[in-house]
Symmetry: C2
Subunit: 113 residues, 2 copies
């Protein structure tokens, strides 16, 4: 009864929360969209445009990112960076992440009791 579709959905769920952390971490330095995507890919996180761009717009709407239009290489680009509120949120997400990581590693290495 188990299908690849279920597994695909689970992997997606697993990625979703972590992608937010990755974006906030990377935007401690400002990037425009495409450069952000490349930087994350260089760290092994391949996120398609249809996922990444709506996500950064959402994070800006939520006040976690700031953005400004600027010309670079004769083209107008929108540069994004983490906001003060974004840094506070990132800190809390990393705390949660550390706790979850500890739990998973403990379950994984230990005997299931």
């Amino acid at each position: 009864m188990f299908t690849d579709e279920y597994l695909g959905r689970m992997r997606l769920e697993l990625r979703r929360g972590m992608v937010i952390i990755a974006v906030l971490l990377q935007l401690r330095t400002e990037h425009y969209g495409y450069a952000l995507r490349q930087a994350l890919e260089a760290r092994g996180l391949d996120i398609d445009e249809g996922t990444l761009y709506p996500l950064i717009r959402r994070l800006e709407f939520q006040g976690l990112l700031t953005s400004e239009w600027r010309e670079e290489d004769r083209r107008n680009k929108r540069f994004y960076a983490i906001s003060t509120e974004g840094r506070a949120a990132l800190k809390q997400l990393l705390t949660e992440w550390d706790a979850l990581e500890t739990s998973i590693n403990s379950l994984r290495s230990g005997k299931a009791s």
Copy 2:
């Protein structure tokens, strides 16, 4: 504009995928629902009943868990354990998890490029 509600939702997203991994890991040894909940809590994962019990029923429906009713301490309890398909799924989820963990750690420790 950023509110605790957004952060709460993000933390939930982050947990959701990892809770599946935790449940599958713990059910390498069979448990009934309440004992599973206690075992996860002992590893630092506090999952309320309204989340955990629907999740294990869903995982069983998907074929990742098997279950059987058995009497213990004069009460009928439903014992859950990971299935063969569950083990295969867990392996793939852990592979994904390792990749994501590596990316996050790299972003976290390295300079944002």
